[in-house]
Symmetry: C2
Subunit: 316 residues, 2 copies
């Protein structure tokens, strides 16, 4: 019997991982303070006796460390995932990502939990000159507070693993899309088109190239990587071996919604400060496990729009 | 007239930089809370009208931001510089290094200060497979909380520079030695030999290879780099193109003190958790400025021992 702990269990990826683990008959303690997580994402599991939901802030170490007792693996998904508005609240990434991860690691150390799965980000590569970007690409220069905080979390995790005989699987995700997605350009475009179906304003010139991965493919990749890689620290890119332009994605979104809005652009190469105009990760390492994504970027975008159309409560 | 602000102005490197700037007739505001800094390091300058000393904690943003008004360049030297005991107080590096750097950058942003010099560390390369290690070596894996915090500071700085038209010179130092040195293996060995001249216990097997740079060479290198490199973010290794074994350094130290202690070893390859058994930075980039160190590692160690011998108050 594996006892798992999922931080951010009510978030987009965290709730899917919670489902995934419970479906395998593992027991799960899920911690979330519902700051961006949604109780609705947990409603299928809340009566499951294998699941314990703890509504608590991970910044509050004294309240959370006891839940790490007898846990065999921690899925640390809790994070401030907002890249775009980092400079509006410069302490948020430090608190929600770095300090929370420090608390998680201390709780693991004191309870002798040996394994951690962590959701890092492909944006730790900054605007790298090597594209597609492999895990061991040259020392990157950070361009956002979000990626900076994630690279700090990675460093905390690998340092603890070296010091305390722990083991990590650190996944550098591209943007994940699919059911329960509630943040990012598809969400923003959808919201705009809800309030004005005749116009869609795009940040940047629309030619930003981005890679997206569908949530089910993401979950399968994590599972494959855990079975395949067994180093002390396993750092693995998770992305789709390809990309789309934001303009293409806008076309798919408007097609799904049967709309034909006028497109306007803010015009620069980057949509906002810290926006990376070309994200494409080298996925050779995860591919060695035999994993292949089943869903194309286009289909992932279309599934996401379908989900948003059926779940307009997300915009309330 | 250049108005400079030096954080950590009463520390080892910060106080030397303060001297250096005042000797050039720049005006200097120095901030230090004297937690590890020493008032004695400032005594030559305290009556200098070009110098203003602020005894304040940089964590206290509301108390410090006003001092950044009309500053043209910030030398950000304040830090928790303790690598070895990081895991004893896992929040200290986050507070003293990451949060303080965030405050410094916010204060710079609000006061439109455009230039920052930052003391990072060669330990951000972890135990890199490429030795000597260049600035653009492959994405490193962190092994200490100290280096993790410094890489986070680097990321905050480069992100702010991208966002707010600021410019950085980030120096990845090897250990700096010389007058006012008060922390590291020479200090530890000296202290041991003070209390027992007949025995010296060395952490590790004594074969750890380390590079050291003498403080005056460090100051000259910073000055050269500022004149020579003018990118948005200038990231530069600062070290000596060579290294010594800890055993050699122990020999120089005991020779200086006319002692012949029995040497004992804790025995492992690493002196402590996170100790890097081989530090040697590639200094090609700083050498392009024409800079060359004038002091060998051996002479730097000998000067440091002489200083400690003449300043035993440091051990009180």
């Amino acid at each position: 019997m594996q006892n798992c702990l999922v931080t951010g269990c009510a978030g987009f990826i965290g709730s899917h991982i919670t489902d995934y683990l419970l479906n395998r008959n593992f027991s799960v303690i899920g911690i979330d303070n519902l700051s961006t997580g949604r109780e609705k994402f947990l409603e299928n599991n809340i009566d499951n006796k294998q699941f314990t939901f703890i509504n608590e802030d991970l910044l509050n170490y004294n309240k959370i460390h006891k839940y790490f007792k007898d846990i065999s693996i921690v899925y640390h998904l809790s994070a401030n995932a907002d890249v775009r508005f980092g400079f509006n609240h410069p302490k948020k990434d430090i608190d929600q990502n770095i300090l929370v991860t420090s608390n998680v690691l201390e709780a693991m150390k004191h309870n002798e939990v040996k394994k951690i799965i962590f959701s890092s980000t492909g944006s730790v590569y900054g605007e790298h000159k090597t594209i597609p970007t492999p895990e061991d690409a040259g020392f990157p220069i950070q361009t956002s507070l979000y990626a900076t905080s994630k690279i700090a979390c990675e460093g905390l995790i690998t340092s603890y693993c070296n010091a305390y005989d722990m083991q990590s699987w650190i996944f550098r995700f591209v943007s994940i899309i699919g059911e329960r997605y509630q943040h990012g350009h598809i969400y923003d475009f959808f919201k705009q088109l809800q309030s004005n179906p005749d116009q869609l304003h795009i940040l940047g010139d629309g030619h930003q190239k981005k890679s997206y991965l569908y949530i089910n493919d993401c979950l399968n990749a994590i599972d494959q990587a855990l079975n395949f890689y067994n180093e002390k620290n396993n750092i693995i890119n998770l992305g789709y071996d390809g990309y789309c332009e934001i303009n293409e994605s806008a076309k798919w979104i408007t097609e799904c919604l049967n709309l034909n809005p006028e497109l306007t652009y803010s015009g620069q190469k980057r949509g906002w400060v810290g926006d990376n105009p070309f994200i494409h990760l080298d996925v050779t390492k995860i591919s060695k496990t035999g994993w292949r994504p089943e869903c194309t970027i286009e289909n992932g975008v279309r599934k996401t729009v379908k989900y948003l159309s059926e779940n307009k409560w997300l915009f309330e």
